[in-house]
């Protein structure tokens, strides 16, 4: 359906907007381009309808090299929806919807028929046809924006952050509505966004881009399960873990309340026994007042077990810890950046109150990805 073959866009002065893109999309697929701003996702999309022309490589739509097609003809066959909606304020809804049909010289009656038919797709009544864009709400306007891109029954539709300017509730309902519509009409969609939630919700496959290159191109599930690198992890992590679950904010809400502890004056053999019982490789060392002293792990015991006897003599005092009230998103960053496995949580008097492990974070991720679905289905 759509194929990128070694496509690059180099601007004057040698700046690579995108370099050496290779990908192929099937008919009826919902493809989402995602990445931080300036990653080249919009450029890539605009190359498909030649609003930006590639400097190297070729793009094929239905097997046809787009550079060999007249750009005006090409664009009339590709639906286009932009973020700021872009309805023409001086045209009625009908004129807006049927604009491409008019360009294609459809007779007026047929255009009107088609506009009516399209309105029913989004549950709007024909009396909207006579109205003007500013008389409609933002959500309705963007519905019309989408209809306009469907008018000539284009099989490929490009969408540049179409729901970005809408309020979250409207956006949510529009996303669902649109996804259903897309399945029903079997359109191929190329959709640009920077919102991971949106991408995961809508996409059949996601293209994650960075600095003009494809970092990962896969299904949402696969990306969540096997992020290609740290960048992808962070991209999913920050968006998904923090923004998706605003109700989980501080570490107390996710921490494990019963960390395995040992007192400084216990013997190493007691410590090893405890590790074996609880099946852990690290123990937090506390004193009688629950104040955190340090930690020992199995390696430290192994190295020094012949020379010393007590836990307090072996333990490492320097360690990373967090106070209660620390934000989860900061915690996540620590875990990702420093590759740590756990962080003890202490109160203002340095007393140990819990521990956050990677397992806790997995729970958060799990909840935020599949938790909602379980509730709705």
């Amino acid at each position: 359906m759509l194929k990128f073959d070694h496509v690059s866009k180099v601007y004057k002065g040698g700046k690579h907007a995108v370099s050496d893109l290779n990908m192929e999309f099937e008919k009826g697929e919902f493809i989402v381009f995602i990445g931080p701003s300036g990653c080249g996702k919009t450029t890539t999309m605009k190359m498909i309808n030649r609003l930006i022309e590639p400097t190297e490589g070729s793009i094929y739509v239905d097997g046809e090299d787009i550079m060999k097609v007249d750009p005006v003809e090409l664009r009339r066959k590709i639906g286009y929806v932009i973020q700021q909606i872009g309805l023409f304020p001086h045209m009625t809804i009908e004129q807006n919807i049927s604009l491409v049909l008019k360009l294609l010289k459809w007779p007026e009656e047929k255009r009107r028929e088609r506009a009516k038919e399209l309105l029913t797709l989004v549950d709007m009544t024909p009396d909207y046809l006579e109205r003007y864009p500013h008389e409609l709400s933002g959500g309705q306007q963007q519905r019309i924006g989408v209809l306009r891109a469907l008018a000539a029954d284009q099989s490929l539709i490009l969408m540049d952050e179409p729901f970005g300017a809408l309020d979250p509730i409207t956006r949510d309902s529009l996303q669902e509505e649109f996804k259903k519509l897309q399945r029903k009409l079997n359109k191929t969609i190329v959709f640009v966004t920077h919102d991971m939630d949106e991408a995961l919700k809508l996409a059949d496959r996601i293209v994650i881009m960075r600095d003009g290159k494809i970092v990962q191109f896969d299904t949402p599930d696969e990306i969540l399960r096997n992020p290609a690198d740290e960048f992808v992890e962070e991209f999913i992590g920050q968006e998904r873990l923090v923004q998706a679950r605003p109700n989980i904010q501080t570490v107390e809400q996710i921490m494990n309340l019963a960390p395995v502890t040992v007192m400084g004056d216990q013997t190493l053999s007691a410590a090893i026994k405890l590790m074996k019982e609880r099946r852990v490789d690290t123990l937090l060392v506390i004193n009688e007042d629950q104040v955190l002293q340090g930690y020992i792990d199995v390696e430290m015991i192994d190295q020094k077990r012949t020379k010393v006897n007590l836990v307090s003599e072996v333990m490492e005092r320097k360690m990373l810890k967090m106070e209660t009230g620390t934000l989860v998103k900061d915690t996540i960053r620590k875990f990702l950046n420093r590759a740590i496995k756990y962080v003890p949580v202490v109160d203002e008097n340095e007393r140990l109150v819990g521990i956050v492990t990677r397992a806790n974070l997995v729970d958060v991720v799990y909840d935020s990805i599949w938790g909602d679905e379980e509730i709705t289905s």
Partner: protein, 217 residues
């Protein structure tokens, strides 16, 4: 009052002819101005680099006293209506050109991109998007320009173009107040009526959606 009545009874027919001449000169100049300046203004939005230069030149011309321009054309075009129309036409250019340029430049880039992305040709975008959206601004320029021209057309009398200026200058030369008034009052009325009429035209050519937009805003 009596003098006015006797003036009208003596010169009534002549007054109508002069008014017509006056209108003819100004509207012909304004009409030519629209025909030249609107397309030129649109063209300049496509070549922004020289837009400033062209508009600069026109601004300089605008500062030349109108009387001087009228006289300047005598060696080339002689005297009569033609040089007057040409001189006034040159004056009408700047306001129309500038407003067209500003109006067209003011059309949101988004809309242009959507238009292009949907497969509109350059021409289709100008006719279906840019012009309708810029119409209020362009019309403002045309109105302003035409009203000015009606005023300046009085001077055309000096190069033998006729018009209501004839009365004003005769009146001034002969110390006849009624002649001055017989020239000045119709000119004022003409200017006001023309503005009113062009206001109607503006209303008529402005797309309905744009008018509603203004009411809401």
């Amino acid at each position: 009052m009596d003098t006015m009545i006797s003036f009208l009874s003596e010169n009534g027919m002549d007054l109508l002819v002069k008014t017509w001449e006056h209108l003819y000169i100004s509207l012909a100049a304004a009409g030519l101005g629209v025909i030249v300046a609107v397309p030129l203004g649109i063209a300049l939005t496509r070549i922004k680099r020289i837009a400033g230069f062209i508009m600069g030149i026109l601004s300089i011309i605008q500062t030349i006293p109108s009387f001087a321009i009228l006289v300047l054309f005598i060696p080339i075009l002689g005297i009569g209506k033609v040089p007057a129309i040409v001189a006034l036409f040159i004056y009408s250019l700047l306001p129309i050109l500038r407003n067209t340029y500003i109006g067209i430049s003011g059309v949101s880039n988004n809309l242009l991109e959507v238009g292009k992305g949907m497969g509109m040709t350059n021409w289709e975008r100008i006719v279906q998007v840019e012009l309708p959206l810029a119409v209020p601004v362009i019309m403002a320029g045309i109105r302003l320009s035409t009203v000015y021209l009606i005023g300046w057309a009085t001077l055309a009398s000096y190069i033998g173009a006729g018009g209501l200026g004839d009365y004003i200058f005769s009146g001034l030369n002969l110390y006849q107040t009624e002649f001055i008034l017989a020239g000045a009052i119709p000119v004022t009325i003409l200017a006001l009526l023309t503005d009113l009429l062009l206001g109607k035209v503006e209303d008529w050519v402005t797309p309905t959606g744009m008018k509603k937009l203004k009411v809401n805003a």
